[in-house]
Amino acid sequence: MAGVTRHQLDNGLTVLLKEQHSAPVVSWWLLYRIGSRNERTGQTGISHWVEHMMFKGTPTFPPGLLDRQISKEGGNWNAQTSMDYTAYYETMPADRIDLGLRLEADRMVNTIFDPEEVESERTVIISERQGSENSPMFWLGEEVRAAAFRVHGYHHEIIGDMTDLETMTRDDLYGHYRANYMPNNAIAVAVGDFQTGDMLKRITELYGVIPAGTKAEAFVRPEPPQNGERRVMVERPGSTQFLEVAYHAPAAIDDDWFKLAILNSVLTGPSGLGGGSIDNKTSRLYKALVETELAVDIDGGLLPSIDPYLYDFVATVRDGRTIAEVEAALDAQLDKVLNDNITQKELDKARKQARALFAYSTERVTAQAFWLAFAENFHSYEWFEDYIARLEAVTIADVRDVAQKYLRPQNRTVGWFIPTTPDGGEQYEEDEE
């Protein structure tokens, strides 16, 4: 990952550039340092809704024209709202990337927020939430994080609470846009088939003219320490039981985060940075939960985040077994990493897996550009460059230390999804009206 250069325009826009000439493609990202963690009660989901509105047009690129233009040039574009940021990208044939550059510069300041469009998007977003609600795991995840975070903005889902989606106004959304979309609150990244000098010149032409804004202090309330285990039960129609166990975890810049990542690889298999994952059938928890026929799968999740978030385990209970049985078997395995060291062989395997997954997840320019922007947001792009080296530095003793520090019952929230007996499910032909 050598070859990244960092630049800062006079208006405060941070620019990261990396040439990669293996394919005639460029990926262009604009990341704003605003996400669901900064949202106040009553406005949960506002970052995500604003992200949707950014596709609704400017005077230069009226509604419907933006997407046609990008498609016409053979590009992909999309956006994502996370807990920690809101990001937009275009990945395009290298000779056509200028459209992406112009478009992002334009919509940083000129997005319309037409009241009618806001109303039509309200129902789309409510529909997005309802689509998620069709999944039992959504309900369980929402309850677990709400219980784990009483104060910090990580307590609500990125999509927002239904009541806020029903009541937020056009002016709320526009206010959020004006307060956060400005060059001095953004990170721009290009990776791909271009010349750095030319690219920087063009970026300066298009973005250098946008005045810096007045950046308000980000709304963040630190989570107080948890005093004792928390438990939540979700009962809804369904047929399958789920268990989620979530521990408060360190922030991504903390060395402890990398130690937990190695522990996670041993417990539930490796997870790459986005792009690639592999099977976890030789991991400790797969053997203890799935091979024993208590569960049908087990996953571990450790997201790199700005503030301390969660390290969680999610198991799908095998039909005929109970959640309590799965929880007991999980606890027995966690006791082992609290009391005994992992083996050198497990550590070596976790390191090799990390190298392979890192290679898979950084082959596309889109993924590389994303990770540079992502890391720059909470620290510096060097976090991404140093990722493998920091994992390699983790020792057996480190892994036991973080197990003891974080995997304590007092530090966790346990969630059960208890299906109530479903009825219906039949298929019938309807008469034509």
Binding site: G74, D95, S127, G238, T240, S283, D319, G425, E429
Partner: protein, 427 residues
């Protein structure tokens, strides 16, 4: 670097047919550190009986549970210790496989692939464990509105005499009745080198890759392999049928509506693909996205898709909508179908889509996976290895009349299947 010389074609794809019929295709890409493999054997669900629906899929899922040379743990350790991955899964026509590894580990990947395809032993305890996992998964799917809408749609689009009627996954009724002997028999009869294709893309020398495949699979023989299955004839939908599936406790309904579409072999496939793009893909999901999502705000997702494939796959429109808006969403889609089956698309529509189809190619070919998928397509559908080189000409030759003719051939706004799965319909 940015020229047509890097587009996969006869000049840079090594294609070798082994004596036993296996076709090996290799594309060297030293820009990446990894290698991917992809391919298929002639062993899909088309070869199973409806009473044992799910046999092909369960056979494929059992392969990595134990072979004559390795037990479950040894198979997965061999892969996971080096950060490699290998999946085998059954489709309707073929059983496909995909794998990836760091380039230096290609021999390990091919060795494992050969082992699981040729020497599986179907350990009874492992098969039972797998059966429980499949059944729990199916029970979960019975509560999944997208899955239920799709199943109802297919069960009504294709008669029971057609293999596309059935899910490759099998059902809660058929999976318990599939025995270890059924799996063994299926593997022994259908797994073989004839019509097998394997594509390898990544940081490996072509000749080395071919030699690795030859060493592990070159001596594979299976005289039992039956002739390729032929699909029964099937009639297009003649009147609109509407199916509802009640899934209690859900907050959104999923809608699938559609007809029989073209196979990849149809001469009008490319025209159909482009008119489908106008209808429900281009930009923010084409005209359907503009109307249902953008203008009416009815759905989070709404798009149309065309399967292509080896037989008459579905040409369908999919949407997730609030239960109260189902009827309005269906009516809006029908209006768009009426329009696109009666009026030619605009000059702008066709020019934009030509530009999209041709301009998008570099993005599709950016990764090893994308290149492997394109090469596998050219081989599977006998398009010729120069297909990507001719692609722009083929796209640019399409006319508005071609597009209208293609959609009129398949779609009739008065005759389609529509399936809705969600909470009890509100009146």
């Amino acid at each position: 670097m940015s020229s047509s010389s890097s587009i996969p074609g006869p000049h840079n794809i090594t294609r070798v047919e082994l004596d036993n019929g296996i076709v090996v295709l290799v594309y060297e890409n030293f820009a990446a550190q990894s290698v991917v493999i992809g391919g298929s054997i002639e062993a899909g669900s088309i070869y199973e009986s409806p009473a044992k629906s799910g046999t092909a899929s369960m056979t494929a899922a059992s392969l990595m549970r134990g072979t004559q040379n390795r037990d479950f743990d040894a198979i997965h350790s061999a892969l996971e210790d080096i950060g490699a991955d290998l999946d085998v899964g059954a489709g309707v026509h073929t059983t496909g496989f995909n794998g990836k590894a760091l380039a230096e580990d290609l021999p390990v990947l091919i060795d494992l692939l050969a082992d699981v395809l040729r020497y599986p032993v179907f350990p009874a305890q492992q098969v039972e464990r797998l059966r429980g996992e499949i059944l729990t998964g199916l029970q979960y799917r019975m509560q999944d509105t997208r899955y239920r809408a799709n199943r109802a749609f297919r069960e009504n689009l294709y008669p029971e005499s057609h293999p596309y009627h059935f899910s490759t996954r099998g059902t809660l009724e058929t999976i318990p009745g599939i025995t270890v002997d059924d799996l063994k028999a299926f593997q022994q009869k259908h797994y073989g080198p004839r019509d097998m294709v394997i594509t390898i893309v990544g940081a490996v020398k072509a000749q080395d890759a071919v030699n690795i495949v030859k060493a592990r699979l070159g001596d594979w023989q299976n005289p039992q392999q039956p002739a390729k299955a032929v699909l029964p004839d099937i009639k297009q939908v003649e009147e609109t049928r509407r199916i509802a599936v009640n899934v209690p406790g859900k907050t959104q309904s999923d809608v699938v509506m559609g007809v029989l579409g073209p196979s990849r072999f149809e001469p009008d496939y490319r025209a159909a693909q482009m008119v489908n793009s106008v209808l429900g893909q281009f930009g923010m999901m084409g005209r359907i996205g503009d109307e249902v999502r953008e203008r009416l705000g009815l759905a989070y997702y709404a798009y149309s898709s065309i399967e292509g494939g080896l037989g008459p796959g579905a040409w369908s429109v999919n949407a997730g909508v609030n239960p109260a808006n189902v009827q309005l969403a269906i009516e809006s889609v029908v209006k768009e179908i009426q329009r696109i089956t009666t009026e030619e698309v605009t000059d702008e529509d066709i020019e934009d889509n030509k530009s999209y189809f041709t301009g998008h190619l570099p993005l599709q070919l950016e990764s090893n996976e994308g290149i492997a998928a394109s090469i596998l397509n050219m081989e599977t559908y006998q398009l010729g290895l120069d297909n990507l080189l001719k692609y722009a000409d083929e796209v640019n030759a399409l006319t508005k009349a071609d597009l209208l003719k293609a959609i009129q051939k398949y779609w009739n706004p008065d005759a389609f299947v529509v399936a809705v799965a969600g909470p009890e319909q509100q009146q």
